[in-house]
Subunit: 370 residues, 2 copies
Amino acid sequence: MKSRRKFLIHLGTGLIPVTFGFTPDSLLFKTDNPPKDKKLRVALMGLGSYANRVADAMKDSKYAKVSGVISGTPSKIADWKKRFDIPDKNCYNYGNFDAIKDNDEIDAVYIITPNALHHGQCLRVAAAGKHVICEKPMAINAKEGQEMVEACDKAGVELLIGYRMRFEANTLEIVKMREAGEFGEIKFFQGLSGFKIGDPNQWRLDPKLAGGGAMMDIGIYAINGTRYMVGEEPIWVTAQEVKTDPIKFKEGVDETITFQLGFESGVVASCLSTYSMNYLDKFFLNGTKGFAELKPATGYGPIRSETHKGRLDLPHITHQTKQMDEMAKIILEGKKPTIPVDGKDGLKDLKIIDAIYQSVKQGSKVMLDL
Amino acid sequence: MKSRRKFLIHLGTGLIPVTFGFTPDSLLFKTDNPPKDKKLRVALMGLGSYANRVADAMKDSKYAKVSGVISGTPSKIADWKKRFDIPDKNCYNYGNFDAIKDNDEIDAVYIITPNALHHGQCLRVAAAGKHVICEKPMAINAKEGQEMVEACDKAGVELLIGYRMRFEANTLEIVKMREAGEFGEIKFFQGLSGFKIGDPNQWRLDPKLAGGGAMMDIGIYAINGTRYMVGEEPIWVTAQEVKTDPIKFKEGVDETITFQLGFESGVVASCLSTYSMNYLDKFFLNGTKGFAELKPATGYGPIRSETHKGRLDLPHITHQTKQMDEMAKIILEGKKPTIPVDGKDGLKDLKIIDAIYQSVKQGSKVMLDL
């Protein structure tokens, strides 16, 4: 099911509009005022702590609601059914969720499972003809990511990645200021992303489920942030790995990696990804005329921001509420977000992660082709 | 002339004290209360803007005073003679300053000339039997630095490098906190040092006089800062260069370099050196129990500082006044500074700079042996 979105995007690039069975009135559809009776009906896959956070935030969403669940744990399903008033017919497990194809009460599936499972699950959701929202990282390498993009494209469903910061007010204001030239020529970006990870037995420290270490989970914020803050795609990467606890951080699970991204324009980014320290979460964008700092930059908020003109500190809206509102508008109305959150964009982060791991391995610069 | 300092340092390391012609009373000499009639008498070599700043600051020094000048510009000498009440006999030019050997009104020469001149000038001052204070970088490569250390050692004179931050109150308090374990195990340091350089015709952009680019002049703050903030010597370095203006920044003059320093303990430092942007000058030290941030970190002050316990922001004392007071105590009384500022220490920064340039050239990690 090709959505209205494709049509509107083509309009935006100046192509001649063609009506596909809906009236011209629909072209005047205001994205801020969708029909009140239509919400994006989302089934959450994987009922861990982040899924709980998303579902709670969706209670305040005007455009999306929890309509189904997919879980391997019957007791969790029972709990969620009560909390979100979900009928039996909208509850699935990992064995039978392909049947969601025939469920007309579910529009999209939000995959919130361990990283290494995203690829296979996304392919099954796409095959069932439902839109896919997938937590970051969308997969554990670019090859998987590419297959997901192709599968969703082929099935005619959206693939959106859970980059909640791309809808955050301070972040968007800074991007807007950059586009208006308020920082002059951009020269430098710094992203310090990390935290001290606790429980050594969690899936994030299991290379088979996590597909990597801190880079997959938290370093990706610095990668992603570099791209949307700089507003240009990097052309090379260098990276250095340090491991102080090889028991906790097994082979294939990176603890701390510093990495640098270079750009055609001469911008350079210097980033940190780590599972072994707190007091981080800082973005710093520097140009010839001014700077912007986000600190914290990507936590659950409030995000705090400062520029050469003074503090911004725009009002906090629960990120997951805002994300689901915006993703519903993208899927239901073809709204084009300020910063893309689609699979093709998420794939670029995976290409950079692949290159970071390769640079660590070979000890030299790796060129990027995004 | 071997100074009293060597003797006291030996005492400090537990060697048996031997009196070299002075009475045991002198061992009780309090470094905070030197004889009021004895000040370190300093001749300034190179009367540019920084020399003016140093000389003005020395007006408030209790332990050092401007007693002579060495300059190639007669009009500058005339001006300084008036301003600092300097007799004719204490004024030299670059041709005749070796005669300072016979001047018993000069104890030390402070070299504040272009980087590439330091080496030759230091060797001549040492040969004249005067203590040497030399601006950073002490020389333009480690080979030169090593020769300077050896020359001063042979001549029995002190060689101190103008690292004014090593006497700054906020910096020293953070070092003290680190030594007391207040940040836990140190994990990460970040030093962002740079500014947008102006006049394209200044000596700092002439490779023959500067011996390099931003790294020599401002990047060295991040290098030096990494070492005193982390409190450990790095064992490897990686570096990446970016040049956006090859007209202004000629061959041999680095514009922007990102570099990383690794430590035996697993600490990693991520630094920036640049001549093409402002809004920098930030140090960030991160450990398992807390952090420290200096912002600005190395400007002329006031330095502003924050830790996980709150803001420090200790009172500002003009850095150059404090530096000259402390250096006078080191030379006259053998005081041991909290952080070393001697030539052997300065030489380590040059070894790191050599390795940074090498890493840029070869595109891979360079091991350090400090």
